[in-house]
Each structure stands twice: as C-alpha cells, then as structure tokens.
Amino acid sequence: MHIHFLDPYHHRISLVHSLDARVKFVLTIAFILTTALTPHAAWPVYILLFATILAATLLSELGIGFVLGRAALAFPFVLAALPVIFTLPGPALTSFSIGDWTLTVSQSGLERFISVALKSWISVQAAIVLASSTPFPDLMMAMRAVGVPRLLVAIFGLMWRYLFVLADEALRLLRARAARSGQADQPGLKNGGSVTWRARIAGGMAGNLFLRGFERSDRIYMAMVARGYDGEVRVAPLPPLHAGSWLALGSGLAVLAILLGLAYWL
C-alpha cells in the first residue's frame, strides 16, 4: 500500500536520461524561458518549439502518450485566460448573446488565448520530461549547481525523503475516515454531518499528520546526531561537467537562441 506511484520518475535507458541533470535542468528552464519570450501568435515558432519538445520526448523513450497525457493535467488553469477572448480589443470575429449579454470574440483576443494555452502546454511538457527522466537526487544536484543555498537544498532533500512516508500516512488517515463514514439503516437521517464539522475533522487529520511529522523529525534528528550531525549541512563537491555535457548544453542553448531569433527577426 505505497503511494510511490506518485513519483513521476520513470527509469529508461535513453539519451535524455543519461544527460547530466545540470544540463537538463538549465536547458529546461531555458526552453520554458524561450517559450515565454516568444511573442503571441507566432505560430510557426510554436510549432518548432513543440517539435523540439516532442523530439526530446521521443529521445527520452518515456512515450509520447505518457507525456501528453500528463500535460493535459495542467489544462484547467487555461480557464483563467478565457475572458481575454472577449475583452481584448481587435477586429470582431463573431458574437453571440446569452440573455442580455452579448459576447464578441475578437481576433486578437482569440489569438492571445490560443497562444497562452499553447505556451502553457508546450512548457509543461518540458517540465514533465525533466521530472520523468531525472531522479530527484540529481535534480537536487542541479539546484546546487545553479546556486540554490545548501540549507535550502537540504530541506528539499529531507522533504523528498519523507514525502512518501507522510503521503502514505495521509492516505491511511483518509481510508480510516472513509471506513467509518457509514449510513444508518433508519431512513430520513441526514448523512455526513455539516460542512463545518467535516472541515474540522479534516483539520484534525491535518493536525494528526503534523504532530506525527513533528515527532518523526525529532527521531530523525536524534538519528542524525547519533551519526555525528552537528547542525552544519555538509555536501560532497559537485562532479565536473564532461565535455559531452558542455557540448549538449551549448548546442541546446544554440537551438533555443535560433528559435528565439526566428520569433523576433522574421
């Protein structure tokens, strides 16, 4: 009964998996930055960006279906950009009315909406390929390499170590609650109590989880002290980047620069 299936890392033997995590990390951020910098409605560049990330997906051997399926999870937020279709001034495409309301779809509004949706969709695929092809400890190494302070990286590491333990605890709490959420045989009883009562129960479960987290962290601290921990977070030095990694980094950045150049220069 373990919740490890939450971990998106998928082990494969692929070029993308074997790429140095630091290179992957920087390239992913650069890719997302390039996507963000690409102007609205620069459709050909979007297609090239999509082709690039699709190529990375293909090289990672994660499966295009897996990456695209996961990318769909990020879609609900697109609703936030929906109003812009109707509010951005520009040539009207069509309009329809709901009751007294008349909504006019403007061309620039529609273009901006589609642009945002595409940029968001393309960017999330890059993040998925990174997370699914890089084990978390390697991601932490990449964080250190780009200058994230080691205390913060240490907190990330401890969080990751206990994430699944506590997620399992949360899951068991939810199961224990579900197991007692029954329905009486007498008809006419309102099942489930009031909303505030249910919220308080959920709060009690959160308090329970926190408390156990606190007590666990005490035990972890003692186990760390037993092995010589003195409050200083020490880490091994980062291994040097191979020539091949530099090459991958350089060529990746060059491709992105070309794409960005296309977006502005054309």
């Binding site: 910098l37 102007p39 082709a51 601290y221």
Partner: protein
C-alpha cells in the same frame, strides 16, 4: 488522482517574462533573508523539522472534505506553518513545498515558480504572521486568540494571495483585471473559509495533544515589527490596488503596455514567410502550415534517427 491542489498554482505561459522576473527577484530576496534568520537561530533541530513538516504540508494538502456538489476543500498550509514554526522557517517550508510541486509534479510552472512561491510562500506567510500576531496581542494569551487568529490568518492568507494572482495575471495581459481579480477573489473567499476551518481543526488537535508545540511556535514569532509591517503593507496594498485595478482595467492595461510588462505583440511574421520560403505558394496560412510541418519532420527525423541507432547499439 488523490492529490488535487488549490487553483492557485500558476502554470508557465500565463505570466509575462517581466512579471515572472520581478516576482523571482522578490522571492529570492525573501528566501535569502529567511535562510539567514533561520541559520542565525542556530537550532540544528530545525533542519530535519522543516524538511519533515514540508512533507507533512504536502501530504496534508491531500486531506480533503466534501463541500457540495462534488467539490471539496483542501489545505494550503501557509498559516498553519507560520503559527507552528514562525515566519522565517515557514517561508522556507512553503518554498520547499511549492518548489517540489512545480519541479516534480508540474503543479505550477518553473518560470512561474518565483511567482508561486511569492504568492503562497511569502505573501501567505507574511499575511498570516501579521494577522495572527495582531489577534494574539488583542487576545492577550487567551485560548480564543489561537483559534480566531488561526482562522483569520488562514482566510486572509488565501484571499490576499488570490488577489495577488489575479493582479499578476492582469499585469501579464492574460485576463482583464475587472474579471481576473474579482473571479480569483470570489472563489478564494470561499476556499479561504475551508482553509480557516481546517487550520483551526488542526490547531485544536495539536493544542489538545501537544500544547508545547504551539507554545514553541509562539516563541518563534520573532519576526519583529518589520515583518509585521511588511505583511500589513502587502495585505493593504493588494486590498486597495485590486479593486482600483479591477474598476479601471484599461488603466492597468495601459501601465502594462507602457512599462513593457506585456510581451511584444506578434511581429509581421506571416507577411514575410510565404514570399521568402515558398515562392510558389501564395496562401499565407498554407505556407505557415507547410513551414511548420517541414520543421516538425526535420526535427523528428533527427530525433527518431538518433533514438533508433541508439536502440540498435543497445540491443546489439
């Protein structure tokens, strides 16, 4: 999927680059100050504690309760972390939670991560701190201060953070201010009630079981006047700026255009491509599509070729 976070994690693509960068700078400053303050505390017990509590907040966000019609309430946890750990450690804990959510689970973007940490980690924590401290002062150490303070801190932390999200979306030209801000504010005014009730439920449980933890948290509330005022300033600024912005969306748009917050509008892209690339094709749209397809084919061909040769090498 069990894990369903608040609709507050902004994905990539929604914030303009300028807004993302500004928020990253603010976040880096806040996190740097928090790191210094936490290191200065010299309490080595707090490193494992912050890591495990970050995991607990992440897991705690899985705990839901049904509200009505298939919707459910969740915990964000900024207020709870602030009350139990004090503002500095809470900022680091929330940074870790939001960071792992983006990095590993794609809840929220990577470029947008600065903004998401700022909204949930920095604003959420500072506003919680200000409200909780103020109520504690008024309550003078009585028990109701914990619950009223906890509820108000939790509610306001969600509400103000939502205003910030709305404002950032509007500044990025994604959603007009008069829609984005009221919509975010309206939804999160309700979500905030859930956050408040869960937070109080958790505090009641912890107070009954381990009162010493709440008292220890009390001692960590040493942000001092500056943090208190920072939280107050953020809350007031957003509470005032948001209605102003939403009653005058064109004004905000103007600011955005003027200050270059909106990304450059699309250049004369299609007008040029057809003539240069495919002289024989007159229709612009068709040319664009063909250019795209050719691009895809080339990139794909290379990728497939590399993957194929590699596979052969591996199986050989």
């Amino acid at each position: 999927m069990l894990y369903a976070p608040l609709p507050m994690h902004i994905p990539d693509g929604f914030l303009s680059v300028a807004v993302s960068v500004v928020l990253w700078v603010l976040t880096v400053i806040a996190v740097a100050i928090s790191l210094r303050r936490v290191s200065a505390d010299l309490d080595e017990r707090r490193v494992p504690m912050m890591g495990v509590l970050a995991a607990a907040i992440f897991a705690g966000q899985m705990l839901n309760f049904t509200v009505a019609g298939g919707t459910s309430g969740h915990l964000m946890g900024a207020a709870l972390a602030t009350i139990l750990l004090g503002p500095w450690a809470a900022i680091l804990v929330m940074t870790t939670v939001v960071g792992v959510q983006a990095l590993v689970f794609q809840d929220g973007g990577l470029l947008a991560l600065g903004g998401n940490i700022f909204n949930m980690g920095v604003i959420g924590v500072l506003v919680s701190y200000t409200v909780y401290r103020a109520v504690q002062k008024v309550a003078g150490g009585q028990k109701w201060g914990l619950y009223v303070g906890g509820f108000s801190a939790a509610w306001l932390s969600i509400f103000i953070a939502a205003l910030a999200v709305g404002l950032q979306l509007a500044l990025s030209g994604i959603s007009p201010a008069n829609i984005a801000i009221p919509a975010m504010a309206g939804i999160h005014a309700l979500i905030g009630v859930g956050e408040g009730l869960i937070t109080v439920g958790a505090l009641v449980f912890i107070y009954a079981s381990r009162r010493d933890l709440i008292e220890a948290g009390e001692k960590q509330q040493t942000g001092g006047a500056i943090v208190w005022f920072a939280g107050l300033a953020i809350a007031i600024a957003l509470a005032i700026a948001s209605p102003l912005a939403s009653s005058n969306p064109d004004g905000l748009e103007w600011v955005a255009e003027e200050k270059g917050f909106l990304d450059a509008a699309q250049g004369p892209l299609y007008e040029i491509i057809p003539d240069y690339v495919f002289p024989g094709v007159s229709n612009e749209a068709v040319a664009t599509i063909i250019a795209g397809i050719i691009g895809v084919v080339i990139v794909f061909g290379v990728a497939a070729g590399v993957a194929y040769s590699r596979k052969k090498r591996l199986t050989a």
